[in-house]
Amino acid sequence: MDTPIPIHVSLRGVNRVYESKLGRTHALGPIDIDLRRGEFFAVVGPSGCGKSTLLDVIAALAPPSSGEVTFEGQPIGNTVPNGVGVVFQENASFPWLNVADNITFGLRRQPLDKAEIEKRLQYALQLMGLQDFAQAYPSQLSGGMRQRVCIARTLVMQPRLILLDEPFGALDQQTRLLMGDELLRIWRATGATVLLITHALDEAAMLADRVAVMSARPGRILEVIETGWPRERDSQIVSAPEFGQITARLWTLLRAQSMQALAPGSV
């Protein structure tokens, strides 16, 4: 069956095996998925299932051991493709730069004039609610604010694909919900394709158009669930009856996998 929606990212037979002191680890695969252009795609899975490895492979931060990843029809090489932005779980803001310099760090390496850089900076500051903190240093900000800085730093590059690796993992629940709302706003405003890696079922169910559930290691896609949310949505959909159904379905799939991941001898 032909799909009318253009494919943005495609993974075919992707595996990742790595060697360490503990021996060979089959971390991921085989994985076959397609991300549609402009969709919000979430990946949930038990801890240690290779979710973050999947993101690394798509971002070209780690090479697949086999299989092929294409972005906009082109096979990705060994550097992060132009048009891809990554937000990490850890605080990746640079402590020696103030917020404005952090946000424009990547921009200043582009052939852009000052006015354009300033324009994008002001837009990102405003979008992320950082207007009053442009001159502050990361050490003066809360964890949530620092993550906003990192998101802003990625956004100003105007990526067509935004990869987020548990970006709200270190934040408290209320902040996570609000950041989720902001992420939805950003997603609509930019029209970018978003891939969100998360361990939080509710986060995936609330934010994504489609949610892929991964198995315990080696991580494979067990099922992809369509949420059917309208494009205009926010965190208030957590009270919709479908939200409960989707979360329940995700948990049913994940429960066995999570127990397997926790079982003795699995690590």
């Binding site: 550097t79 990490f88 640079f94 240093y137």
Partner: protein, 248 residues
């Protein structure tokens, strides 16, 4: 009283040290020590003589050149080894071991290589400073959080840009601490180098004064060295703190 101390801890420390010095003088007597005031006055008198300034210039030159060598060579070694994780792991124990060698044992060799004079002093000063600077620089590079490199890769930085714009600024606070410690050790090395097999400089002056039992000179030179070392170190510490807490 307490508020005054908190507002000016270093001034308080200086007053305490002067008091201790005076008490120690009362205990051990004039054969071994000079009281603070007399020392300061004698130092002031020495500072009015051209010969004393000649010794200062000699030590100062040797020290500045030795420090420059320590910093440049230490940074080069530390960065060259620290940029690569494997070389860092291989060479760090080696550097730490070489740092534990009592350097005074190498002094005869230094003298044989360079002869008596300025080059030997510089070499001996640099021997003391270069390894700590290298160790701190190497450790500083290894301690940069890996997430910074991942973020840099995600922003498609070239290798050179990565070193210049991420690795160096991220490692700078620790590197600066290494330079601060390198400063103190290079000064020790330079003075030590002047004490044996040298014909000028403050270290030489100290040694001849010991031979002549000239307490006034011993005390004045020591006071001068302590003042310079403590002042510079305080300034470096301030800068160190500033680097660690950008934005205060």
């Amino acid at each position: 009283m307490r508020r005054t101390i908190e507002a000016n801890p270093s001034l308080f420390l200086v007053i305490m040290l002067l008091a201790l010095w005076q008490i120690l003088f009362w205990l051990v007597g004039r054969n071994a020590l000079l009281p603070p005031l007399e020392t300061i006055l004698y130092l002031a008198r020495l500072l009015q003589t051209a010969r004393f300034w000649g010794h200062i210039a000699e030590t100062g030159t040797a020290f500045i050149v030795a420090l420059a060598i320590s910093i440049v060579a230490g940074l080069a070694i530390g960065l060259a080894l620290g940029i690569n994780r494997m070389t860092a792991e291989v060479f760090e124990p080696f550097l730490l071991a070489s740092n534990s060698i009592p350097k005074i044992a190498l002094y005869p060799i230094v003298l044989l290589i360079f002869g008596i004079g300025m080059p030997a002093k510089i070499a001996f000063g640099a021997i003391h400073g270069v390894v700590p600077v290298a160790i701190f620089t190497l450790a500083a590079c290894s301690n940069v959080p890996p997430i910074f490199f991942r973020a840099a890769a995600a922003m498609r930085l070239t290798r050179w840009d990565l070193i210049r714009s991420v690795l160096l600024p991220a490692a700078l606070p620790d590197i600066f601490s290494g330079i601060r410690i390198g400063f103190s050790l290079t000064l020790i090395g330079t003075i030590l180098g002047e004490m044996f097999g040298s014909q000028s400089g403050l270290g030489y002056l100290l040694m001849t004064a010991i031979g002549l039992q000239n307490i006034q000179v011993i005390m004045s030179v020591t006071l001068l060295l302590v003042l310079v070392a403590a002042t510079v170190n305080t300034l470096l510490l301030k800068q160190d703190r500033r680097l660690r807490q950008p934005g205060g």
